[in-house]
């Protein structure tokens, strides 16, 4: 458990540092790239907890796809993306207050609900194979329904993105 705690600490420190850089950097594209480090840290924490599938999904979907969408959104909407002095708005008290309140609420809810929860001590990680067995036995119908959901999302995205 000691090694896990050390790795948790290292990853948490890197994540906090990168998260601070996300909000303090003046370049919006750099902010999205710092976010990659934060999300990679989340994936590492999931692996540390033995949740292999969630960790891999974190890398594939969040780092692979969501950040790409962020970057595309930035690159499509902004004419100039270099150093921007106006990124920090003059009215920063209100967003800071909202951020702190939201953090406090989520932290309280998380701690309050999982106060007595204990992590599995050792040697019982949920491997991808176990997740796969679960999908292809008990959850085969939801799995196929997911494809219809994804199809609906795909067609919806195309309809919205296309100009008629």
């Amino acid at each position: 458990m000691v090694a896990q705690n050390i790795f948790f600490g290292i990853m948490a420190a890197i994540m906090i540092w990168a998260a601070l850089r996300v909000v303090t950097t003046k370049n919006v594209v750099h902010a999205a790239l710092w976010l990659v480090i934060v999300l990679a840290g989340v994936a590492g924490q999931f692996l540390l907890l033995g949740a292999e599938f969630v960790g891999v999904t974190q890398i594939l979907v969040y780092i692979g796809a969501v950040v790409v969408l962020f970057l595309f959104g930035i690159m499509l909407t902004r004419a100039s993306m270099g150093e921007d002095e106006n990124v920090n708005l003059p009215n920063r008290i209100v967003p800071a207050t909202v951020g702190v309140l939201l953090f406090g609420l989520m932290a309280f809810a998380t701690i309050d609900y999982w106060r007595d929860a204990e992590l599995p001590k050792d040697g019982s990680p949920t491997t991808v194979e176990a997740v796969s067995d679960s999908i292809f036995s008990d959850f085969i119908v939801p799995f196929e329904a997911t494809s219809v959901l994804l199809l609906a999302a795909l067609i919806g995205a195309i309809v919205v993105a296309r100009k008629e």
Partner: protein
Amino acid sequence: MSEFLRSYLTVAIFGATGCLLVGAFVGLSALVRPTRPQAQKYLTYESGVDPVGTGWSQSNIRYYVFALLFVMFDVEAVFIFPWATRLEAYGYFGLVEMAIFIFILALGLFYAWRKGVLRWV
């Protein structure tokens, strides 16, 4: 430390060694090489022609549809990945189920193709 985490420790050591090697070689060359900075040396090389404008420019809006399609099929890949680790255990059952899954999503690609989204004019 469990067997599971030990195997990921190997991944971490591998990645750290890679970063260390790159850092060591780049650092070593920075120590050895002479440094005579000139403005021309920092220009972007573009077929011998001086670049115009800045590196930060707006991209074409058409790329966005491809990004959206990529996200969809990325999520599909997330479901294919666990299946691939247990492919042999499922046999034809798994093959048929995954074929149905991919077929339904391929309908979306077919829709995009028919609507002319994939065409680059």
